[in-house]
């Protein structure tokens, strides 16, 4: 459940690739304003860089590559960095007008993480997420270097600076900042993706869920709101007072705030579910156990819960306990024997005779009868 399906259909993969490419293009287009001041080339800062990386982890190298390559190509077309019809006068010209090294570099962003699919890492655990982080870093740095190193070959620079100067001056800051985006966002996406079997609208009615959701939203919303107000106000001030409120970097700020808020809310909902759903299911299992309706299969599912945290541990322990109890009961019931009573009839009648054929008994019986008839008259105390 926290790993991609072993053999997803091709149709599914194609749909995911298209979805990813569109998402990447959209987010990149929206943040196109974000550039490092020193880059002479068309590189910009993109939170969206997490998308091809995530799609690579989730759906494999091929989908990742298409998302990165195609998404970037689409974004470049939208922003005008790539214009059709292309200049096909020479291979180099074609490459330059297509900005091919950048397209491939973005493809690499998706391709490299895609190989994690072969290793089937578990993104519910810290270990899995750290491995994903390492691979993400490798992908970001690798893609950035790839594009930078090939740049002088694809494009013609007016000043013949060396490759390494290009790399150091223009690309390193870019790579660093995009790496920060990727390092923060990709693990979150993977974590939420790993718990996707837990999501569902009905969960939002559970009390625990609502509390957690509220906690996360408030903790994130308050700083965002305050920061946003400050930034918008600073922006207005820099543009000469409130009349210039919509000038300057207002559009960029608004977009950033909006994207951040959407991200927070979505994340809050998903993380709240991943935390509370196991607890809510555990509580339902406990109730079932109380009513003796918990099945062995359900207990075994609980026992097999994956995850590092205490909730997962609790589910596993509970599953183990429940399994033991249910199994023991089943064993006992198997051994229920029919009650076997063997009475030796002869022996019995002999023993009875021994008692009743005594004077004492005959006497007693008479007196008892008399007593009952007279209603508790006392038999004489003449027994020895």
């Amino acid at each position: 459940m926290d790993r991609p399906a072993t053999q997803p259909g091709w149709g599914f993969l194609v749909r995911m690739a298209l979805l990813g490419a569109v998402l990447y293009a959209a987010t990149s287009w929206v943040t196109v304003f974000a550039t490092t001041s020193s880059s002479a080339i068309a590189g910009n800062l993109r939170p969206g860089v997490a998308i091809p990386i995530f799609f690579g982890f989730a759906f494999g190298p091929l989908v990742g590559f298409v998302v990165g390559f195609g998404g970037n190509l689409l974004a470049d077309t939208l922003t005008g960095f790539v214009q059709f019809p292309l200049d096909a006068s020479s291979p180099r010209a074609l490459a330059a007008s297509l900005q091919i090294n950048w397209q491939v570099a973005n493809g690499l962003l998706g391709l490299i993480p895609g190989f994690a699919v072969l290793r089937q890492w578990c993104y519910q655990t810290r270990e899995g997420l750290l491995k994903a982080l390492a691979l993400t870093s490798f992908a970001v740095v690798g893609a950035g270097l790839f594009a930078a190193v090939l740049d002088p070959f694809v494009f013609v620079y007016e000043d013949q600076t060396t490759i390494w100067q290009t790399v150091a001056r223009d690309n390193l800051p870019l790579v660093l900042i995009n790496w920060i985006y990727a390092a923060v966002i990709v693990p979150i996406l993977l974590f939420n993706y790993a718990y996707r079997h837990l999501y569902g609208p009905a969960m939002l009615r559970a009390g625990l869920m609502q509390r957690v959701l509220l906690t996360v939203v408030i903790s994130a919303a308050v700083p965002i709101i305050m920061l946003s107000i400050f930034l918008l106000e600073a922006n207005a001030r820099l543009n000469g007072g409130w009349s210039g409120a919509f000038g300057g970097v207002f559009f960029q700020l608004a977009v950033t705030i909006l994207m951040t808020t959407v991200f927070i809310l979505t994340n809050a909902a998903l993380m709240a579910q991943s935390m509370t759903r196991p607890l809510i299911e555990l509580s339902a299992s406990a109730r079932a156990m109380e009513k003796n309706t918990l099945t062995l299969a359900q207990a075994e599912t609980l026992k097999a819960t994956t995850g590092d945290d205490e909730i997962a541990q609790l589910s596993r322990v509970f599953g183990t306990m429940a399994q033991e109890v249910i199994q023991r009961e089943q064993e006992l019931r198997k051994h229920v024997q029919e009650l076997q009573i063997m009475i030796d009839e002869h022996k019995r009648s002999d023993q009875v005779k021994e008692i009743v054929e005594t004077d004492f008994f005959r006497d007693l019986k008479q007196k008892a009868r008399a007593m009952r008839e007279r209603g508790k008259a006392q038999p004489a105390s003449t027994n020895e």
């Binding site: 006992l332 019931r333 051994h335 229920v336 029919e338 009650l339 009573i341 063997m342 009475i343 030796d344 022996k347 019995r348 023993q351 009875v352 008692i355 009743v356 004492f360 008994f361 007693l364 019986k365 007196k367 008892a368 009868r369 007593m371 009952r372 508790k376 006392q378 038999p379 004489a380 105390s381 003449t382 027994n383 020895e384």
Partner: protein, 254 residues
């Protein structure tokens, strides 16, 4: 109209004293005046369930049988012990214990006693203490004195366990009790392992002994842990076992 109810069994350890104490408590809860006589002179035990020990017991059944006192002098009002659990208890409970002093036990076994005196004592108790019910906690096995208790009883509960050591002897006891024409004869199967099908057990026992089953009492961990330090039905009023004992009490007093 007062009733004499005897609780008997062929072998020891079947749960006679516990059952007697619990039925007593349940009847007292219905507002009745109940007397309990521990006739197991050899190994008295029911006093423990009522929280009594040597210090508390001044006069015992032994003293009466030796002619040292009237039987009502040996009766102790133990209602307060029940009222600890049920403050508003309307009934009353009187316990006539057997002596727990080793010397006295040895003496009475050595010298014997007049069994008829025992019976006189029972009737005396009913009168003097104005009892609605007299519970007789007999000692196991068939002898003169247990036969007498059975003979004068209006109701008799024979307790057995689903154990091979009990089956043969219990069949003899049931047969003898029938010959003594006990009006209300019931079998109680105690300490039944929970894995048995209780309905099946009841059927089998009723068939085998041709006698009505008053209660099937499951083996209970709580009962074991309580270990006769108190009366189960008072401590666990909502336990299913208590419900079973209630039904038995109703059958005995009918």
């Amino acid at each position: 109209m007062s009733k004499i109810i005897s609780i008997h069994s062929f072998r020891g350890g079947t749960g006679k004293s516990n059952t007697t104490a619990n039925i007593t408590a349940l009847l007292a809860q219905r507002g009745l005046r109940v007397g309990v006589v521990d006739t197991d002179i050899q190994s008295p035990g029911i006093h423990v369930l009522f929280g009594l020990d040597e210090e508390h017991i001044s006069r015992s059944l032994n003293d009466y049988l030796w002619g040292k006192c009237e039987i009502k002098d040996a009766a102790m009002d133990v209602t307060s012990i029940l009222q600890q659990f049920k403050p508003g208890l309307k009934g009353q409970v009187f316990l006539i214990p057997s002596s727990i002093k080793a010397g006295e036990i040895a003496k009475i076994l050595r010298e014997g006693y007049d069994v008829g005196l025992l019976n006189d004592g029972f009737q005396q108790l009913l009168e003097d203490l104005q009892l609605d019910v007299l519970m007789i906690d007999t000692h196991p096995g068939l002898n003169e004195e247990t036969l007498l208790s059975i003979a004068i009883s209006d109701a008799l509960a024979i307790i057995m366990r689903p154990d091979n050591q009990d089956y043969q002897g219990t069949s003899v006891t049931v047969e003898v009790a029938r010959k003594l024409e006990v009006p209300n004869l019931l079998l109680v199967v105690n300490k039944v392992p929970p894995v048995f099908d209780f309905d099946h057990v009841q059927q089998k026992i009723e068939q085998t002994y041709n006698c009505r089953v008053g209660a099937i009492l499951p083996h209970s961990d709580e009962m074991m842990v309580l270990s006769s330090s108190g009366i189960f039905v008072l401590k666990y009023p909502d336990h299913p076992m208590t419900a079973r004992l209630e039904r038995l009490a109703s059958l005995l007093i009918a």
